[in-house]
Symmetry: C2
Subunit: 206 residues, 2 copies
């Protein structure tokens, strides 16, 4: 019964990832050991290592859950020839972060906390830096597409490079994640009003 | 000769901070021990502990160097009744980061890397979270002032809350720091062109 076996393996894998996500989000990447994860998952070391070779592989798997949710939100937002205004695109993605990433439906874990751990660890681990770099280039690519469509509709200077505006849009999301975690009392709706006000501020800066 | 003693103490304090900054920026906060810092500073443990009670105090002292540079850049930019356009204010602060914070004149250390370590550590250390939260509220206050003046000059919707726009402006800087560290080949001038294009993108989003 290979189908049952695959399902069983997928469920075990998900259990290990959930255990790792809970620990990483509370204790951080560095203060969480594989032994902690094995204990939290309630499995044998051999079982856990059969799925994941180590902490690096596990944190990327957990971060991948957040990225999949973001990818889905982008795909839905950009379906067909939709041309969302930049501030509304930021609102759409940040709402997806609030509902699906800051409260992962499967584990209840705030996966944005895992993102910050990846940032810090990438600075001391070259392999992690390379992987994180690829991920952020891909996310920036989605924002570049938002800017490209907005430009194509005549709403951004024709000589602007959409990839550069894409980097600025990505910042509006990264900064939100960070401020929401570090500044107590930051309300998502206030932040989005701020993005709208800023992007509506004239006159043209150049 | 109390004056000489004060100078001596200040120099020793700076040496310890430089040693800590070098280690934190390469190995991260968690993988750097007080013993490592003591060895790097080339002093006795007693001498080092006479200046700093522990790693938390040291990383905040090091981060404080970066914050002082940022505070100075804001004070200069907002002197008198200057009303910089938001995109130009972002350019001014990011140029200060590039020249004074990403290459600390005293140590050569990239202090933006220390910032990311503070973010990650704040998520597992309530005292550090409280301190980081205060710091980011203060930085946001500077951006709120930029937005307030821009609004007063008639360039932002009158019903917008400058503090909310300030949070979005802070994101444009935080995202820059992060992308510069994680995405290889990001050029500051490209990023700033992107910010200008985005803030010049119309029509009004609301």
């Amino acid at each position: 019964m290979p189908r049952v076996t695959d399902e069983y393996r997928a469920a075990r894998r998900a259990e290990i990832m959930a255990a790792a996500a809970r620990l990483f989000s509370v204790n951080g990447f560095h203060a969480t050991s594989m032994a902690d994860i094995i204990a939290e998952a309630g499995m044998s070391a051999g079982a856990v290592y059969g799925y994941f070779r180590g902490k690096e592989e596990l944190i990327f798997a957990v971060a991948g859950v957040a990225l999949s949710a973001a990818d889905e939100a982008f795909a839905k937002m950009l379906a067909g020839d939709a041309t969302p205004a930049p501030a509304e695109a930021v609102a759409t993605i940040i709402e997806a972060i609030d509902t699906r990433i800051a409260h992962d439906p499967d584990t209840g874990v705030d996966l944005t906390r895992i993102g910050v751990q990846v940032w810090a660890e990438a600075l001391r681990n070259p392999q992690m830096l390379a992987s994180a770099g690829e991920v952020y280039l891909r996310l920036r690519g989605n924002w570049t597409e938002v800017a490209r469509r907005w430009q194509r509709a005549g709403n951004m200077p024709a000589d602007a490079d959409p990839a550069q505006a894409g980097a600025a849009l990505l910042s509006l999301v990264q900064g939100f994640m960070l401020q929401k975690l570090l500044i107590s009392g930051l309300e998502t709706s206030d932040y989005l009003d701020g993005v709208r006000a800023l992007l509506a501020a004239g006159p043209r800066d150049r």
